[in-house]
Amino acid sequence: MGLSFYIYERSKLGGVIGGGLQLFFSYFKDLVGREVTVELKNDLAIRGTLHSVDQYLNIKLENTRVVDQDKYPHMLSVRNCFIRGSVVRYVQLPPEAVDIELLHDATRREARGG
């Protein structure tokens, strides 16, 4: 099952460390074009190609599909989808897109306040 990687909800990051949002913003920008799964706080999980992300971690996906299709049959597929950053619970990334070194360094810098 490989590596699954979760980044916690944006509201927490923004509320607690402010600038930490920037870290994840930069990180997500590098993932544009990759396949990700975004899990919302209402349990809906949507998989799609990351089209773009903005400073609020609003996420735009393309060629999306709902992971749990039995529960959300009417959302089987939509072409473009915009998800409000504040309702994102997790973003699940493809294992090959996780650069552990880069995250180590960036997170450490962030924790030290610069």
Binding site: M1, G2, L3, S4, F5, Y6, I7, Y8, E9, S11, K12, L13, G14, G15, V16, I17, G18, G20, L40, K41, N42, D43, L44, I46, D54, Y56, N58, K60, T64, H74, M75, L76, S77, V78, R79, N80, C81, F82, I83, R84, G85, S86, V87, R89, P95, I100, E101, L103, H104, T107, R108, A111
Partner: protein, 235 residues
């Protein structure tokens, strides 16, 4: 702040919605010839109306009935999508999910029940169907713009303020698992599974089952003792 869909009947003399211009609300886009479907997809579309997208909200006004109109703040729109797949919905439309205060799982709606009056505050879904499907792209983009113009109000408090967990649970539209009490008890909430408020621990959660990670671990050994604080799974 009131969330969800609301009745809107406040039209100006020009027939357009009266906006809150004192607080900087401006009209971004007007799209005539738009039908609206509130709630369950089996509900009949309401007669064509006009869609007004302001810098703060989405307003739909019926063309025929001046007493009929709806508004929803961009802040309450959880996601919006461009739906063109006939299996998702027969007509190409903008699909939007709306945050509601209550548990909005009222989707049990047979065809016969679907024309009963709606409690607007429980409406969790909205479809906007322009008569001209070529308008969908531009509508989608303006919805994006509206969302970006309306980020969550920033809480100035840092540190161990529970604001973020309150935020998390009041915004969650599911009522079953989370009741208001949880926000009083951060130790049980997501990110606090072990009651540890250490920021670094709550930022990242890695579930590792990948040998690439072992490489990273070796490379990290001895380079900096600090990392074990950030990545407790390393130690």
């Amino acid at each position: 702040m009131a969330v969800g869909l609301k009745q809107f009947t406040n039209r100006g003399h020009d027939g357009q919605p009266a906006l809150d211009s004192e607080n900087g609300e401006e009209l971004m886009h007007v799209q005539p010839g738009v039908s609206i479907v509130l709630g369950h997809r089996n509900r009949a579309p309401e007669s064509p109306g006009t869609l007004y997208l302001s810098t703060k909200r989405v307003v739909w006004l019926s063309d025929a009935d001046i007493a009929k109109g709806y508004a929803v703040d961009f802040l309450s729109i959880t996601l919006h999508a461009l739906s063109r797949d006939p299996e998702s919905y027969p007509s190409p439309c903008i699909y939007a999910q709306i945050e509601t205060e209550a548990d909005e799982d009222d989707s049990e709606c047979s065809d016969s029940e679907c024309n009963e009056p709606l409690d607007l505050s429980l409406v969790g879904e909205m479809r906007l169907i322009p008569s001209d499907p070529r308008q969908l792209e531009i509508l989608f983009e303006i919805f994006c713009e509206g969302a970006e113009l309306n980020p969550e109000p920033i809480t100035e408090d840092g540190g161990n303020n529970p604001a973020f967990s309150t935020d998390l649970f009041t915004e969650s539209s599911e009522g079953e698992d989370f009741d208001g009490d949880l926000s009083q008890n951060p130790a049980t909430s997501i990110g606090h599974s072990n009651g540890d408020h250490d920021l670094a621990r709550s930022v990242l959660e890695l579930q590792i089952n990948d040998q690439r990670f072992e490489d990273a671990e070796e490379m990290e050994h001895g380079s900096d003792g600090g990392h074990s604080e950030l990545f407790p799974f390393l130690s």
